[in-house]
Amino acid sequence: MSVNLKINGIDVVAEEGATVLEAAKSVGIKIPTLCFMENCNKVAACRMCVVEVKGMKNYMPSCVTKVREGMEVITESEDLLETRRRNMDLIFKHHNTKCEYCSRYADCELHEVLRYLGMSEHPYEKGIKAEPDISTKAIVRDNTKCITCRRCVSTCSKIQGMNVLKAFNSAGKTYIGTEGSMLESGCTLCGACLMACPTGALSEFTTSPDVSFILRNKKGKRVVAVVAEEAAKRVGELFYEKDPAASEKKLITALKLIGFDAVYKKETYSKAHYCPSVRNMAKQKFPELVDKLFDQETMRPYEAIRRAEENSYVVAITPCIAEKGEENIADYILTTRGVAALFRHQCVSRFTANELWKDMEPGSYDCLENIAINLKENNRNSVYGLKNVEQALNEVREGLLDLDSIELYACPKGCMYGSGQPRR
């Protein structure tokens, strides 16, 4: 069934049950959104996407308003723009605007909408106090930057099935948080929330300044990198290098250029499940399966290199946030975004990283003897996302599924789109 409506005077044919936002998008009309996430967060909290519907007294949020036959919608008017601007003002009144120090400075979605609304300044004083929660040393939750859009809450509950992040308190004091600190809350550190966050309220615990420091102060030690394939293939995106193979090779050169003494590839083994976030979840919900899931081999991707490089600083480069919460993996753990940040720190005095990246020669990995690399066999079914993992493990518990036939990943799209990877 299709429905005929008018958006800004244009005739639009939409599927029955579609939202006004979808109908507008189908004809190329952009409506700004903040809290909206497809198939996940539809709370209509931010009121950025409000539109005028003929016959309705108040403005309607287009992300949840369904199309109706004969509906007439206006998406742009001075008053609508002013309504959105007012709401943006209110968001900014309660938002930490030390933006230049924020990890999301370059890709903040709040800024994107702000520019769309054509706002040049906001009329409010700043002054919000809250200590960021850094208890996990992997995910940082800074409520001074939170706009309570609920994207993380929906992701945590609906997609990952964990229900760790919740809304607390009410009215102007409403905040998003966890019961106790994040470390005590049962968070598995999957990092899906951090990928959902439109601002810098949820971000990774950054170690790039520390790595930058040891690269400048080696104290006679070697600094070596262990690079995960998924990170290497996508890091180039942050420097306009779209080809994954070229990205991987250039990363090696780039790391050596900024002072790494050796660059190894991270080995993967076929027998063990690895995802640390899945293990964190299993410890809580499937304690009897933990030993079976994660044998002593689990940490081996880093162990061999650490043994060979005993007196070196080992820096792991990974697409994973959860690895940051693991002990004894490496001396420092950098995500893909973190390594890009490191790259910018180190290159800043000589040339811009983008230009350097463009002209870079491809390099190749260093090899350790007697180490088998990439033993992973690809005949297992991958299960992505904690909610699906939980379902699969329930089946394992009931004896319906063989643990050796599946490969478990906490991230909804697997490691290639892990929570440490470039955002878009």
Binding site: K42, V43, A44, A45, C46, R47, V50, N58, Y59, P61, V64, D79, E82, T83, R86, N87, L90, I91, K93, H94, I147, T148, R150, K166, A167, N169, S170, A171, G172, K173, T174
Partner: protein, 403 residues
């Protein structure tokens, strides 16, 4: 200001006048009659023109009929006694004076819509009635055959009185209003078709079943027959709850409350704390649902004399609503705080006063884009205070040394 609505602590939490609903008897006979009448009983309720007493004024018969027609194994009835609005005490008085009428109304509803579960949703302060209600339920359990009745304590605040926020809390979630559609009559608590009505609406049902449509319609207005429990507050001689026929003028209601104690009348706020303000020249207007120039709401009137300051009242109101917002949408959560700050700048002589038009605009934008009726009503009552008494606000600004 509106005194805190603590049961039995406020001067208006007092019964002043009993009418036919508060004093009705033989309510359990009505349950028997309704079960016998079955389909006809619903037709009777529709014909009676009884509208919900919770403020929205939706016809009760229509609501019950649509839930009855829903095809579902389980249906739920909720009696909403989350009477959180300052200046309102009708539900408390009903539970105090005639709880049996309310329970009989609930029993009738369960039988007519074929519900197997009922909740009596009490705000925390009203938990004092829980024991009494449970005792009656036990004594009259033959009327609740196959129906489980739960006395439920409201976990949150004012916003839980909004019907969909209420449903969320019944399910154990945070009290945040849902997006409509679907409406509760189709998918309410736990996804089941649900009737939600105010305490007073339920109390009217046994009367109609026992006495018939003609008797019920003999008083009241065409749009809203019957009586209403008015809560009258402010500096009147006898503040409290009055059960009177719908259709009296504001002046007559003031007279019933014994007139003013002190001062001269400046204006009124109609329909509860989220209702609109009117000037004293509205005394001859009829106070009824859908009547011109008034907002009936939950049927409350607060009389305001020249000894009170409207900006101060507005400031206290916005403080209440800003505290009670559920915290989902930006305009209500932050916008009301923003208006509160702006009003404070008028009242606090040490602050740079905000311009009148800026405050009015803030209210307008909240009203336009708030997510549920609470944000809209809160900004609506402020808009009305600002536009009915503009001089009071402007005088505060003009009399000041601007820096």
């Amino acid at each position: 200001m509106w005194p805190n609505n603590t049961y039995n602590e406020n001067e208006y939490c007092k019964l002043q006048l009993k009418g036919r609903i508060l004093s009705q008897k033989n309510v359990w006979d009505a349950v028997k009659k309704a079960i016998e009448g079955n389909e006809e009983s619903i037709a009777l309720l529709k014909e009676s023109g009884l509208i919900g007493r919770g403020g929205a004024g939706f016809p009760l018969g229509l609501k019950w009929e649509s839930v009855r027609n829903e095809d579902s194994d389980e249906k739920i009835v909720v009696c909403n006694a989350s009477e959180g609005e300052p200046g309102t005490a009708a539900n408390a008085i009903l539970f105090q004076e005639n709880p049996e009428a309310v329970l009989a109304g609930i029993a009738i509803c369960c039988h007519l819509v074929r519900a197997n579960k009922a909740y009596i949703y009490l705000r925390k302060k009203y938990m004092v009635f829980a024991e009494k209600l449970r005792k009656i339920l036990l004594e009259k359990k033959e009327y609740f055959d196959g129906i489980e009745v739960v006395v439920f304590e409201e976990p949150g605040g004012y916003v839980c009185g909004e019907e969909t926020a209420l449903l969320e809390t019944l399910e154990g979630s945070r009290g945040e209003p849902r997006l409509k559609p679907p409406y509760p009559t189709v998918s309410g608590a736990f996804g089941k078709p649900t009737v939600i009505n105010n305490v007073e609406s339920f109390a009217n049902v046994p009367f109609i079943i026992n006495n018939g449509v003609d008797e019920f319609k003999s008083i009241g207005t065409e749009n809203a027959p019957g009586t209403k429990l008015y809560t009258i507050s402010g500096p009147v001689v006898n503040p409290g709850v009055y059960e009177l026929e719908i259709g009296l003028t504001l002046g007559e209601l003031l007279k019933k409350a014994g007139g003013l104690k002190t001062g001269t009348l400046k204006g009124m706020q109609l329909g509860g704390a989220s209702g609109i303000f009117v000037k004293e020249d509205s005394l001859d207007k009829i106070f009824a649902p859908k009547a011109e120039g008034v907002n009936f709401g939950v049927g409350d009137i607060r009389f305001i004399t020249d000894q009170e300051s409207i900006p101060q009242i507005a400031y206290e109101l916005v403080g209440f609503f800003a505290d009670e917002s559920c915290g989902v949408c930006i305009p209500c959560k932050y916008g009301l705080l923003d208006v509160k700050d702006k009003l404070e700048s008028l009242i606090d002589k040490d602050k740079q006063p905000e311009e009148y038009s800026s405050i009015l605009n803030s209210c307008k934008y909240i009203n336009q884009s708030a997510r549920c009726a609470m944000g809209q009503a809160a900004s609506g009552c402020l808009t009305s205070a600002l536009s009915v008494f503009p001089d009071e606000f402007k005088n505060l600004i003009e009399g000041r040394n601007l820096f």
